[in-house]
Symmetry: C2
């Protein structure tokens, strides 16, 4: 099996590549060649035993897509994107990368007679915009309220249509907000969801810009890699024409996050959370999904954590080298 | 008011242009300049009293969009498209015209600082694919099962996003199946819906390839022009971020169409319908919408016929020069 990861320098791409290198497989299927691509050369999975190709390339540049699929990968994981904030700030760049880049890849695949790879497409909860029900069903309409969300929704439509036509075999994954993200806080409005756990776990003060009753949809980085592994090897016949699904996750309030932190790391950790309400952040988050009924993805075999304590335990295990919690 | 119609050689484009020429207005607002564009030079509205520009152009050719909006029209009616069957037969051409052509137009508009025209976009019921409820609500998800439907759904997402960003002021119209289409039968799977009425009304045999209980969603050509006129001048603030709507129409079975024909034209006309079941056509139609709850469009002031007899009466009046039915 040959696997190509586009966006392999990002957090999920790196973790996926490292896992393939560590296990020599994806979703249990042996991998003998791995191509890792990003706009910067991905410095990852150096110890992979199979053939490893690494290069920097931009999907919006002519010829990149052809190069990306030159070895006819069986599985293409397309994680590359301009993120939400940047796609909103730079309208043209967002469309160029998130829409045109995706389409260039699909067209390159289509142009090769008889080639029909599994294509795993990273979509987003941003395809859903307010007003939203408390629990969003699989049948909810796509109502993006950002350019990023519109681009991801268009990518989903392309993936469905190209799959229906038999040009590729697509699976679209709408990722929950990934928590706890390793590393430093960033400028994303969602950054604090990880920060209020990660910083205290590392003995550092964290800033909480919203109220405790804010609810959102989460999964761990490990779950995110698991979705891709499952998507890589699942039977797609069960998906029919609708190839894109919201992934299972944990619906939790900020207050529930904090109580999970207290249970795992004690009052001292919780005391490191400093409340600094930011109405701008609160307003952005107010339009976000709070919970999903992910019946389709669950039926298709996708799994995630069951509780926020489990999500924290995975961070401790995967990022801080602590042993796994019992039962987690 | 300056109006540009792209796709002005098509049935609805012609009728819209002729109506503007006849009334000197669109939706009651005076029109002093009209630009008519299609891939063939539109031969229409020659008696328009204002400034009339007519040319042949292809939106997918570089520079066409700029030329189309060179006089900064206040209202742009974008009807140009590769139809469903052709978009399915020629995958690349469908995307080039229906997606890239639309996007080129939107990008040309966006590139002009301070220009924010009303853009009326022709979408389609093809954005909805099976399985469908008996009555489809405004909130139903877009699940196209054709490339044409996918392209139209992407156009809707673009129109929403460009409107949200303030680059244009979009209204997306999902047209019912237009009935009774004037002229000859064509190769569209939907052709018989008009043919079984139009041919008998003209004393000609018609072929019915499906059962009498097949139900679908219809409006007259006059209603179609009316949607555009209303979209041209309505207050779009009420639409919020979701600019695209299914238009009101008449839900009718083939049997109800036939009984309406009998009521208007008698048993002799009905006798001209020859049943020739075509499983291929029946299968295509089986996945089509049967009825809609168009609460949003009705609240926004869009109107259509109330019965199939009214639809037939409009054909007799507009295409055969017969006087209007009382009450129709």
């Amino acid at each position: 099996m040959r696997v190509t990861i586009i966006g392999a320098a990002g957090m999920i791409g790196r973790k996926l590549a490292e896992r393939i290198a560590a296990t020599g497989a994806i979703g249990g299927t042996p991998v003998d060649a791995m191509t890792l691509v990003d706009v910067i050369e991905p410095d990852v999975a150096a110890d992979f035993k199979g053939t490893r190709e690494v290069f920097a390339a931009d999907l919006t540049q002519s010829g990149t897509s052809e190069r990306v699929i030159a070895n006819r990968p069986d599985i293409i994981v397309h994680l590359a994107a301009i993120v939400s904030g940047e796609a909103e700030a730079d309208f043209d760049k967002g469309y160029r990368v998130n829409l045109d880049g995706t389409r260039a890849l699909l067209e390159a695949i289509q142009s090769i007679e008889g080639y029909c790879p599994r294509v795993i497409y990273a979509s987003s909860l941003a395809v859903f915009g307010a007003p939203l029900p408390d629990v969003i069903p699989d049948t909810h309409q796509l109502t993006p309220l950002t350019s990023y969300g519109a681009q991801k929704a268009m990518g989903e439509l392309l993936l469905n249509d190209y799959s229906r036509r038999g040009f590729l075999d697509g699976v679209g994954i709408r990722f929950p907000t990934i928590c706890i993200r390793p590393g430093k806080r960033n400028k994303a409005a969602s950054s604090f969801f990880s920060g209020i756990l990660r910083e205290p776990l590392n003995g550092v003060e964290a800033i909480l810009p919203v109220e405790d009753d804010v609810r959102h949809w989460f999964a761990s980085p490990r779950a995110a890699v698991g979705y891709i592994e499952h998507a890589a090897t699942m039977d797609t016949a069960q998906l029919g024409a609708q190839r894109c699904m919201t992934m299972p996750g944990v619906s939790a309030t900020v207050g529930e996050q904090i109580e999970a932190l207290r249970a795992v790391a004690g009052d001292g950790a919780v005391a490191l959370i400093r409340r600094a309400p930011d109405p701008a952040v609160a307003q952005i988050i107010a339009g976000w999904p709070r919970a999903f009924d992910t019946a389709r993805a669950l039926a298709a075999g996708f799994v995630a954590e069951k509780s926020f304590q489990e999500i924290i335990a995975i961070y401790l295990e995967d990022e801080m080298g602590q042993p796994a919690l019992k039962g987690a």
